[in-house]
């Protein structure tokens, strides 16, 4: 529809460009979407690529967004989840501690390097989680969604989301120190 709709937009402008402030949306949602992907695929260009894909898809599909059905962020995260799913269908996650260490070796400051190293260790732990759990951690701690929002996205009950996240975080906590000592 792209080409036809472009034409339609200019000549018979029936396309709904509504009151949504895209600049504000972009500023608010970019960090959340970006960190969702960081928690899914780790640091690096891939997280940026998937973030860009999400926003480009959202922009192209903006005419299909309906406020009556969902908050904008919910709609956007639905797209992000689909982008992630498409990615994982194409490629298996590839993470190794060596690679992550190399990634952190060239950091400019010790603090940044340490932060990156911590995230790299976390990424290794996340990579071992089942798909659903990893996604929920990404939504909760990467994007800052609350349990209710996650429940809506994942079609789970809010209490179920809370239970799963509690269990997963406990597991991560237990594994964290062990990995740190390696």
């Amino acid at each position: 529809m792209t080409v036809a709709s472009r034409w339609l937009q200019h000549i018979a402008p029936l396309v709904a460009v509504r009151d949504l402030n895209w600049e504000a949306v972009y500023a608010d949602e970019l960090p959340r979407i970006y960190n969702f992907f960081r928690f899914r695929v780790g640091d690096g260009m891939l997280a940026e690529d998937l973030t860009a894909t999400t926003f480009e898809k959202a922009w192209r599909a903006r005419g299909r967004y309906r406020r009556a059905r969902a908050a904008f962020s919910t709609w956007l995260f639905t797209i992000a989840r689909n982008v992630a799913a498409d990615h994982f269908r194409r490629e298996q996650p590839q993470l190794s501690l060596d690679g992550l260490r190399r990634h952190t070796a060239s950091e400019l400051t010790e603090e940044v390097a340490e932060r990156r190293a911590e995230f790299a260790r976390l990424s290794l732990l996340l990579a071992k989680l089942p798909e659903r759990e990893r996604e929920m951690v990404a939504l909760k701690y990467g994007s800052g969604l609350n349990n209710r929002e996650i429940a809506k996205l994942t079609k789970l009950s809010e209490s179920n989301v809370g239970t799963i996240l509690h269990r997963v975080v406990s597991q991560l906590r237990a594994q964290w120190d062990t990995l740190k000592e390696e």
Binding site: P31, E48, A52
Partner: protein
Amino acid sequence: MDEFLSRLTRAPRPEFSKQLYERINQPMKTNRLQTVSHWTPAFVGVGALLLALLMFTFPPAQALAQGFLDQFRVRRFAAITVDPARMQQIANSNIDFESLFGSNVQVVKKGEAKTVANAQAASQAAGFRVFAPSSVPNGATLKETQVVGEGIVNFKADAAKLQTLLDALQIKDAKIPAKLDGATITLHRYPIVAMSYSTGRDPLNFVQSKSPEVTLPDGVDLAQLGEVALRIVGLSASEAKQFAKTIDWHTTMLVPVPANAASFREVSVHNTTGLLITMGGTGGSSFRSNDAPRQRSMLLWSEGDMVFSVEGGPVGTELVDFANSLK
């Protein structure tokens, strides 16, 4: 641990943020030229769908044989009442409209948008005489005039994807013309001039352009494809067949109007006949959370080789007055 997890978030690189914003910001700017309305997304989807199908139906070889005027150009706008349930069905179908009609899109020429000072400057930039109103609704003031440059796009029609839509809509009896598949379609859009007015209420947008042209390789059955389009928007097989015969598919742009949310009528505009569509109250979806969808109207007409639309919150008669004052 919880806090630690949250603490590991990081702001995107500023360069990445800036580049991505710029990449999607260009279409944002371009789309500000569009008039604003509260048409439902389904309506928009069907409208674009039908238009695209109409575009597919122009065989240039036939046009060459029949002369210049037979080339697909908008000479007339006609409304068709469509079933809102079908629109909802399309909206719910999760069809990827982005890739439905074609692949291998090749942008031969991309028209850029730029703001100009006035109608005279717009005429110079667009290459045609720009019409401007001598009368506007009370309180309306010209806010911005923009010109979008000429654009040419080639793409290949994909019958399989169109069949996917038919299957999703459980349309079993419609046949897509065999020669459509793989056909290269060229859309040639001439420069567009868009004037937006502040009214104190909803904005008023006036768009004018030479009619775009669509070319398609010879051999596609025009009426057959038209019937497919009509089936998609909800007509029965017999209705579609009958209706298709009454349409000059080379020059008529069909505008789907949801039966439960909008009304339309033909009006006299600038010594020709225009199509006035009014939507409001029960239909459409607004992004405003604190008000009901307001009534909006759109007037479409063609004159010579030009097409015009004026759309906004003012009532239909005000839009007609606006159009009739164009000089």
